[in-house]
């Protein structure tokens, strides 16, 4: 077989649970060394997809390869060539840091000289050099996360699947984590990562947005912003956010709440601004500020969901 530059390729990947279609006919193609982000809200089908790619779940339909191995027939071959970090922390929390690393070294068949080197590497990467004898359950979330990542890649797999690696981790740990992922990518490791944090999408080389089991958009972060945001996003600052949103929504303006602000997506900015001002005034909602902003991926995502 020719060494292809594709790490993961699937066509028509589908998973049904009874009548429920968790993953609906999706196509993916991921290049070697790419950081591929798989974005979507909870329950969109991210974990189901990742489990099918890792050989943990048999697809109902579709074809494809991971690392050159068939996802339908060669799941055990796939498992030799990937690292997988599940959504829930899944190391042994009654084992110490070092014992967990030793265990996975054994499982992955990492032998003596290499084992010592990898142990040192994981401890350093996770910042756990002085906590090697600590029982894992006593560690803070960020450390656990990095230890789990370390254990999943002890055997230096060419492809790594990370299922919501940053959920429930503080912002600083999250950033550190993405730095790690970036470094791995530089070492030609392919990374498939799911997240529901939209702000993390910009760390990825390429993205797919999944919603209700379907991929609704795909491309680089910039492509997505340009391609799918032909319309304008207005940021509206009011005190009564919920009331303002109801008013605008009733009058046919696509509106979403972003923290304490509203984002309105419109086709014609010149007409829309006076109209919004009028609407709010009529409803006695004081307007503090309204201005055009560069859409974030979150806006893109909200807009795409409105369409589908």
């Amino acid at each position: 077989m020719m060494r292809s530059s594709i790490a993961v390729k699937v066509r028509g990947l589908t998973k049904r649970f009874g009548d429920f279609v968790a993953v609906d006919n999706i196509d993916l193609s991921i290049k070697k060394g790419e950081i591929f982000g798989f974005l979507g809200p909870n329950g969109a089908g991210k974990s189901t997809t990742i489990k099918m790619l890792c050989g943990l779940l048999l697809p109902t339909g579709g074809t494809g390869t991971v690392g050159g191995f068939d996802i339908m027939k060669q799941s055990e071959e796939i498992k030799k060539n990937i690292g997988y970090m599940s959504q829930k922390f899944s190391l042994y929390d009654d084992l110490t840091v070092e014992e967990n690393i030793h265990f996975f070294s054994g499982i992955y068949g990492v032998t003596n000289s290499r084992k010592k080197e990898r142990l040192g590497w994981v401890l350093e990467m996770a910042g756990l050099q002085d906590k090697r004898k600590a029982v894992t359950k006593t560690l803070p979330g960020g450390f656990k996360q990095r230890l789990a990542l370390g254990c999943a890649i002890l055997h230096e797999p060419p492809i790594v699947f990370l299922d919501e690696p940053t959920s429930g981790v503080d912002p600083i740990s999250r950033r550190n984590f993405w730095n790690l992922i970036n470094e791995m990518s530089k070492a030609e490791i392919t990374i498939f990562v799911t997240t529901h944090y939209m702000d993390e999408a910009d760390y990825c080389n390429r993205l797919a947005l999944i919603y209700r089991g379907k991929v609704i958009a795909e491309g680089t972060p910039n492509e997505l912003k340009q391609k799918y945001m032909t319309r304008y996003v207005l940021e509206v600052e009011v005190d009564k956010v919920v009331e303002a949103m109801e008013v605008m929504y009733k009058n046919g303006i696509e509106t979403a709440i972003f923290g304490s602000l509203l984002h309105a997506t419109v086709d014609n900015m010149e007409k829309a601004i006076p109209r919004i001002k009028n609407l709010l005034e009529e409803s006695n909602i004081p307007l503090n500020r309204i201005e055009r902003i560069v859409p974030s991926l979150e806006d893109v995502f909200v807009a795409l969901i409105e369409v589908s």
């Binding site: 899944s90 042994y92 054994g106």
Partner: protein
């Protein structure tokens, strides 16, 4: 099969057991405790049977006979009666279990060297106790007649039983070896029934099955530490049996250990299989209790003789591993049985272990659903 993976799993499992007081207690304390409790509680010996005496002879010889009943410790004389009809009221009300009726010419016949007989009425509603009581009665009367100038007294019922292997008829001697088998059947399945289910519940299984570990490596790795625990439990139990309960160990201790190992392998594999199918610790532990304790207690030949069971049930017992282990332990302890004598049991027990191990391997799938 890679040894390094089996070793990693076995080591991890051992650390987890070691750190968990509950697992430790279950592994080491529970079998010893069960042996204590059941060893002392289950006894088929009968003591202090309430007895009334209907002595028509009223001689020194008849009183001597009554005294020897009393002295045995098995009979407690609670009263004397003077009329035939009183017998019924004593037995019906449960005030007495045994009535010894001594005929008028008892001492006269003895003195003139003739045979005489003794009427003994035993409440048969508890047939087990009644049978045991009859055994005592014939033993006491035999001894008595030997003492009195070698004259025989024949009780109305004269069971000519010779007891082998357990001549003192101490029920403990045949209960304890069987009890070890029952306890080990429960412990082995219970110990391993939690291991796979626990990993599913804690979510660690998802990580484990995403690795290249092979199913036999995983199962074997999990069996090994429990095998050693089970082995230690067997040694403990045998030591307790010999030194505390004073059960004679007539056969080879080495053979006992060898056959125990075969049993452990099957029992632990059964626990693993249950754990794989149940995927929940609670369900798995309940299934393993039911699947091992009841058959081991009732159908293994521990309490009730298999040959007395209906034919269909007898055939069913062939599928119960503790049946073989009970025979093995009783045989080695009491009869000093050799491997040659236990070949049938050994073969079937090995077959059971291999079969269950194979099914467990087949049932375990490295998928999340």
């Amino acid at each position: 099969m890679k040894f390094i993976r089996v070793k990693a799993i076995a080591k991890k499992e051992l650390i987890q057991i070691w750190r968990d007081p509950l697992s430790l207690a279950m592994a080491f304390l529970m079998p010893v405790m069960l042996l204590f409790i059941f060893g002392y509680a289950i006894t088929l010996d009968v003591n202090n049977l309430k007895t009334v005496v209907y002595d028509l002879d009223k001689s020194s010889l008849s009183r001597e006979l009554v005294d020897s009943f009393r002295a045995s410790g098995n009979f407690e004389v609670v009263g004397n009666i003077h009329e035939q009809k009183e017998i019924d009221s004593y037995l019906d009300s449960g005030k007495a279990f045994v009535v010894i009726s001594i005929p008028k010419d008892f001492s006269e016949k003895l003195k003139t060297g003739r045979d005489t007989s003794l009427q003994v009425i035993v409440d048969g509603s508890d047939s087990n106790t009644a049978t045991i009581a009859l055994g005592y009665i014939s033993a006491i009367t035999d001894m008595y007649s030997q003492r009195i100038k070698g004259v025989r007294i024949t009780p109305l019922i004269d069971p000519r039983v010779r007891v082998w292997y357990n001549p003192e008829l101490k029920s403990r001697n045949f209960i304890i070896p069987g009890l070890i088998a029952v306890i080990m059947a429960v412990i082995t399945a219970l110990l391993t029934s939690l291991t796979i289910a626990r990993e599913w519940e804690r979510g660690t299984m998802e990580q484990l099955i995403s690795t290249p570990v092979k199913v036999p490596e995983l199962i074997l790795g999990k069996l090994i530490p429990y095998f050693f625990i089970g082995f230690i439990d067997v040694i403990f139990s045998v030591l307790l049996a010999v030194f505390l309960f004073e059960v004679p160990l007539r056969g080879s201790p080495l053979l006992l250990m060898l056959l125990s190992s075969i049993f452990l392998f099957g029992g632990l594999s059964l626990g693993i299989l249950i754990s794989i199918v149940a995927k929940s610790q609670l369900v798995a532990s309940q299934i393993s209790m039911i699947a091992t304790f009841l058959p081991a207690f009732l159908l293994s030949g521990f309490m009730y003789s298999i040959s007395n069971m209906p034919k269909a049930l007898q055939i069913f017992t062939l599928a119960i591993p503790s049946r073989y282990f009970v025979t093995m332990l009783k045989g080695i302890f009491l009869k000093g049985s050799t491997l040659k004598l236990l070949l049938f049991e050994t073969m079937l027990l090995s077959a059971f272990g291999l079969f269950v191990f194979a099914v467990a391997n087949k049932k375990f799938r490295k998928k999340v659903i």
